[in-house]
């Protein structure tokens, strides 16, 4: 056994900290391009900038080999209309995707134009993107010539939700016969992250793993000025890092568990890991970057520590081609999420209501099950082994089930829908929606600062992170080539160093988990289902009180706990931004999942716009942008990418 307590009992003392301690020590690193965050977007940004022959530095909180939301794997390469089996034009598909309110049309255009090239480059690096071993011959969507596995997803409609009248049965000008769209490819995503790290190393990217970035450095230390570097903390040694860079790309994620932490399931309160704490957004905010859509939140439906970790079909997520049956084997009218009803993942409200009533009347017996045995063998394998077996956290879940004796050809897999109850309205998440505002170069409102992947407002999936990371790397490299040497402000670095180390100067007080839970509770009370001017202002007051009274008590016993403590401070800043954004929107909105009790009108025309927020001289400044502020997507993209050369052909 090797728990800490085993060790303590056997040895009679706690283990020594296994890494050298370098609190207060500094390391300075120079870069042409600094990439913050080594997930999918960050790796692609670093690779793309390094291909330009520049000195690229990548800082990652975990280890780049498996870090980020897509670290363990990825099951679908979504919205890849430029693939040879697609039946729709990439620009038309991008425009179609951008019809959704409050999306990011810039990122979508880049994704649809470039993510097929990205996929081919991934293959060049050693990632597996085709059924080259002929494992799934006969599966629907498998193309014998290319050996690509087209997914049923989006083949008829684009949305998870089947009730969008606007898009249902949509005929594309580029697909007048209404053939299957074929815009999503199933991939072997567990092979991706290690080859991306290897490619970074091959191209000479200097990788700093286990470095949590803590702040951006600006010219003369001024808010709103050009970004000239960043500071970081090594979470194993406690060393303080100062990076100086001509251009900087933020590629961290949004914040995970702002509304929710289970203190004993700290990493379990979101679909994503504890490391996703909104650091990038918080540091961009403090540097004066403009953010948008920060008032948008979702409700965490799975994996909150109180609910089951996994998608279990029954209309709660991706369970392609799996019929759902009740405890007596009776088919439940949920979408099969496969070829039959392609694109549908969530039942319509009518079906939902009928099933619920059916349960109460005894028409359907709980629990429900995924009827894997009923599926044709090859489709079952494509779902269980390929899709679930290659997806991020479900890879190890399928393995654990297999090891425990589960056999999908024989056994029904239980669903927790209904029996585990619905999520509470206070179990919210901010990860999708709000983020940093970018222009057509994926440049933020600050000179020298770029953003990619889920760092930007309204992000999409894994392939979006890849394509936008690669694009941001190109643009940030071009900027770095023509800009002068950066000068960092020593005073700004010294102030940040003092902020970073404050918790280790204390050995008692409040630990990071308690602080996190306190922030989460404030958000549950004051910025959740019931939003009013007065509640939101109480929220700001409570968060300020936490900042003034609890943060000065925060203590950390080692570099790791210091990292967690600093994450709390990012979460606190993020929570404040969300609350400010919620105050700024004086209307309710369905697409933003935003209800103001004092402004109940739903999406009134005058409020159909992006709200922006930034700090100017330390004060919150609100602004706005019209929907589709990005202009004509095709023209805007082409005007700025005349030199784009497609799939990388260099060495």
């Amino acid at each position: 056994m090797s728990t800490w307590h085993d060790y303590f009992k056997e040895q009679g003392h706690a283990p020594d900290w296994p890494y050298p301690i370098r609190f207060d020590q500094e390391q300075e690193i120079d870069a042409d391009v600094l990439v913050i965050g080594g997930g999918i977007a960050g790796c692609w940004a670093a690779i793309s900038a390094a291909r330009q022959g520049l000195n690229v530095v990548l800082a990652e909180k975990g280890d780049t080999v498996r870090s980020g939301a897509g670290g363990p794997g990825c099951d679908h390469w979504c919205d890849v209309p430029a693939n040879p089996l697609s039946n729709v034009d990439p620009d038309e598909w991008a425009r179609h995707m951008a019809e959704r309110p409050y999306c990011n049309g810039i990122g979508l255009q880049i994704q649809c134009r470039e993510n097929y090239d990205t996929l081919l480059e991934l293959e060049q690096m050693g990632g597996k993107v085709r059924d080259s071993g002929d494992e799934y011959v006969g599966a629907q969507g498998r193309d014998e010539k290319t050996k690509f596995m087209i997914s049923p997803r989006y083949t008829k409609v684009h949305s998870y939700v089947p009730v969008d009248e606007k898009t249902e049965g949509k005929i594309f000008a580029s697909n007048p016969e209404g053939k299957l769209n074929n815009v999503v490819i199933r991939v072997w995503g567990s092979t991706f992250k290690p080859v991306l790290k290897k490619e970074c190393q091959r191209l000479g990217v200097k990788i700093f793993d286990r470095v949590m970035m803590t702040s951006l450095l600006t010219e003369n230390g001024a808010q709103g000025a050009r970004v000239v570097g960043a500071t970081g903390l090594n979470s194993r040694t406690g060393e303080f890092m100062i990076f100086k860079s001509k251009s900087t790309i933020l590629a961290t994620s949004g914040a995970g568990s702002i509304w929710l932490i289970s203190t004993e399931l700290g990493g379990y309160c979101n679909m994503m890991s504890r490391t996703i704490a909104g650091d990038g957004t918080a540091m961009a905010w403090k540097a004066g970057a403009e953010l948008t859509t920060m008032e948008s939140t979702g409700i965490v439906r799975i994996a909150v520590g109180y609910k089951h970790k996994w998608y279990t079909g029954a209309g709660d997520a991706s369970y392609e081609n799996v019929p759902i049956v009740d405890a007596n084997g009776k088919r439940v009218p949920f979408p099969i999420q496969g070829w039959v009803d392609a694109g549908y993942m969530v039942p319509s409200p009518e079906v939902e209501q009928a099933v619920r009533e059916g349960i109460l009347k005894g028409e359907y017996a709980l629990p429900f099950y995924g009827d894997f045995p009923a599926m044709p063998e090859v489709e079952r394998n494509a779902t269980w082994k390929l899709m679930l077996g290659e997806e991020s956290t479900t890879k190890v879940i399928t393995k654990t089930f297999n090891d425990a004796g589960y056999d999908p050809s024989r056994d029904l897999l239980q669903s927790y829908r209904y029996i585990e109850g619905n999520s509470l309205a206070q179990w919210r998440e901010a990860s999708y929606g709000g983020g940093i505002l970018v222009d057509w170069d994926l440049k933020t409102s600050l000179e020298g600062l770029y953003a990619a992947g889920t760092q930007m407002f309204s992000p999409e999936d894994h392939s979006y992170a890849a394509a936008t990371g690669r694009y941001a790397g190109r643009k940030a490299a071009a900027y770095a080539r023509q800009v002068g040497e950066p000068q960092i402000s020593r005073e700004q670095a010294v102030l940040e160093k003092a902020r970073v180390y404050a918790p280790v100067k204390r050995s008692s007080g409040m630990e990071w988990k308690e602080l996190h839970a306190g922030i989460a509770r404030a958000m549950q009370y004051y910025c959740s289902e019931f939003k009013t001017e007065s509640l939101l202002n109480m929220g700001l007051g409570t968060l300020r009180k936490i900042e003034e009274e609890s943060v000065p008590l925060l203590f950390a016993l080692d570099p790791h706990k210091l990292m967690r403590s600093l994450e709390d401070l990012s979460l606190l800043t993020y929570a404040q931004i969300v609350t400010h954004a919620s105050l700024a929107r004086k209307a309710s909105s369905i697409p933003l999942n935003f209800q103001r009790i004092d402004y109940p009108a739903l999406d009134p025309p005058e409020w159909r716009k992006y709200l922006t927020l930034k700090l100017e001289n330390g004060k919150v400044k609100a602004g706005e942008l019209p929907l589709a502020f990005w202009g004509d997507m095709k023209n805007q993209y082409e005007a700025r990418n005349k030199d784009y050369t497609g799939v990388y052909k260099g060495k």
């Binding site: 979470s235 970790k309 425990a404 967690r564």
Partner: protein, 98 residues
Amino acid sequence: MSSQKLSAIPNVVTPNAPVIFNPDICNGCNICVEVCQIDVFIPNPEKGKPPIILHPDECWYGGCCVNDCPRPGAITFNWPLQQRGYWKNKATGEIHQI
């Protein structure tokens, strides 16, 4: 038992063991320590021994430690009791749990 010396230690955080190491198979290569994005483990002070689970309460059950382990059986995933999934044999109706 009566002569055993006891230390006074705080409660054990739960879940306490997101994985179980088999010390007969694990050779202490520490690949799991490196691929974990949140540093659940630290290397064992004794070389060649399985890592020590230092931060079990931060585990997000991403599974890279198990997926990337080069020695099959050295590390086994151990879901918290409240998260262990169920299935049913379609033919016999027999219910199983991980």
